[in-house]
Symmetry: C2
Subunit: 121 residues, 2 copies
């Protein structure tokens, strides 16, 4: 059994691309992923899983069809399954996602920002 | 839909007891819980779920039968299902747990440190 802790800062130092989640841990059939975001994402939803956003560094906004959520470091938000959302960040923001293994970043929307699933860092 | 972010510091300010996890969010059938710990816990394991520890403030150690893990803020560790572990902290440590809803803090061990399940903060 690997007894090294998983350090967020060390993992974030290993990649620089945006909107491309990297898996850092698995719990049962769920993945913990780190991702750097900047600018505007696409409207999308995940039909089969809730999705947890936790901000580690920077600030971000999640647009919803009926409002918006502003998130800072040390804050968490749950997007229920099926709820359309569009992440956005003015400057680079570092976040952790928790969601079912196999969840695709663009959900039902697809398109050019769709990242490969299953990439660990 | 509640559009307020869940702020860890604000939630931690609302309780002071140790070893009594408080639920802050639900994702599918999983709970995100905050807990303050200090001193020594009991050896236990969870037969049916992996358990994720994330340190928010302070430092802690997780004793394992074959070693130990030292965790600081911004670090995560997954205890696989069935693996015996004993959390410990010299000073107060603030942590977030992620595990299946209904998981009991003392797992298979029981005893006086067993906390009520299902308490939200």
């Amino acid at each position: 059994m690997d007894r090294r802790p998983i350090n967020f800062a060390e993992k974030f130092s290993k990649f620089s691309d945006h909107w491309a989640p990297k898996i850092i841990a698995q719990m049962n059939d769920y993945h913990f992923k780190l991702v750097k975001i900047q600018g505007e994402f696409v409207w999308h939803s995940h039909a089969d899983t809730d999705e947890v956003f936790i901000v580690i560094g920077g600030e971000m906004k999640i647009h919803l069809r009926d409002g918006e959520v502003n998130l800072r470091p040390g804050e968490l938000f749950v997007i229920p399954r099926g709820v359309e959302h569009k992440p956005w960040a003015a400057g680079e923001c570092k976040i952790m996602l928790v969601e079912s293994a196999g969840t695709i970043n663009t959900g039902d929307a697809g398109g050019p920002k769709t990242a490969a699933d299953g990439v660990w860092v």
